[in-house]
């Protein structure tokens, strides 16, 4: 692939970076990133990856845009209320950058469909809220050996970690299984500062681009935690856990299964 004149102009601020250059930009254009969840985290990640010229962006979501989403899910506009989130997200990403291909998946990930979806991608961004999905993404990426960025946000706090499956600390190394029912409030129950999703989702996009270009040091083996009230970032070093049920010395999890939905069990949950 060689860049057109228009592309050289569009991506000039990337190309001028010594560590990116024309070759790096071409690499981005031939890369594929999957975003699971077109919500608070997926919104900024999708917009920045589209702007950056990541050639193929997949987006998975089964919901429609709701008025309560707009406080933080900046890829969706007021006029999108009632529209499928994947459609709304696709429109914005294509409007920013018609160079890219957007693949949409109007579904929820589950043990049956996730492997086929993620297999086509170089990197996965976990932008989901519920814990069964987070564990499923961790496990599926482990079995398919696809690097991913995990993140979570709640109230004024956020955290993220990048996982190179089988090589670095995974989500189950830290949390072996989902929390018990109602032990953890969801964003809809506890609230979340909207801009927090922008901060953390943008960091996930940064990790994706770094991985694709082989730049710098990835956030592996380290959970980055962010406290917006204290305006404090902490990098917590986390070694791989030999007792991890997935990637430890004696793995108990050898195939995908759907975890019980323990958290968002409110009937009208609108996370």
């Amino acid at each position: 692939m060689s860049l057109t004149e228009k592309q050289i102009e569009r991506y000039s601020r990337h190309i001028i970076l010594e560590q990116v250059g024309g070759a790096g930009q071409e690499k981005l254009l031939s890369s594929k990133v999957l975003i699971i969840g077109a919500g608070g985290l997926g919104a900024p990640a999708g917009l920045y990856l589209a702007a950056a010229g990541v050639g193929t962006i997949g987006i998975v979501d089964s919901d429609k845009v709701d008025l309560t989403n707009l406080q933080r899910q900046i890829i969706h506009h007021t006029s999108d209320v009632g529209v499928e989130k994947i459609k709304s997200a696709e429109n914005k990403m294509r409007a920013i950058n018609p160079d890219i291909t957007v693949q949409t998946y109007q579904t929820r990930v589950n043990a049956k469909n996730i492997s086929d979806i993620i297999r086509k991608y170089d990197f996965v961004i976990d932008g989901t809220d519920n814990f069964p999905a987070k564990f499923l993404i961790n496990d599926a990426c482990y079995f398919e050996k696809i690097p991913f960025s995990h993140a979570g946000i709640l109230r004024f706090h956020g955290q993220l970690i990048t996982v190179l499956p089988g090589e670095t600390t995974c989500y189950r190394c830290i949390f072996s299984a989902p929390p018990p029912a109602n032990a953890v409030p969801s964003c809809s129950q506890a609230g979340v500062l909207g801009v927090l999703a922008g901060v953390i989702g943008s960091l996930q996009a940064t990790e994706a681009i770094k991985y694709l270009l082989g730049l710098g040091k990835l956030l592996t083996g380290t959970l980055l935690t962010y406290d917006a009230l204290e305006m404090n970032f902490r990098a917590v070093k986390l070694n791989r856990n030999p007792n991890c049920p997935l990637c430890g010395e004696k793995p108990q999890i050898t195939k995908l299964k759907d975890e019980e939905q323990a958290v968002c069990d409110l009937k009208d949950c609108k996370c």
């Binding site: 969840g37 998975v60 979570g152 946000i153 709640l154 969801s186 999703a197 856990n241 949950c269 996370c271």
Partner: protein
């Protein structure tokens, strides 16, 4: 004795177990916390028997959801 809890030096009474520390630090929902002790994740079943020592580094790691419910 002195512990480093989530990066902050904290003085606590001697002989506390991890479970007792969780209670003392007012961790409301211990079920949602993973504990890393000196660089290793501690099994939940060991919270009760693990007695903290001077200069131990403890990290409380919280479950956090995110962008949206799928």
């Amino acid at each position: 004795m002195n512990l480093v809890i989530n990066g902050k030096e904290t003085n606590i009474i001697d002989g506390l177990t991890v479970n007792q520390l969780l209670a003392q630090e007012n961790v409301q929902m211990p079920d949602m916390v993973s504990v890393e002790l000196n660089g290793q994740i501690l099994k939940r079943t060991k919270f009760d028997q693990t007695v903290l020592k001077d200069d131990d580094k403890v990290e409380f790691l919280y479950f956090m959801g995110g962008g949206k419910c799928l």
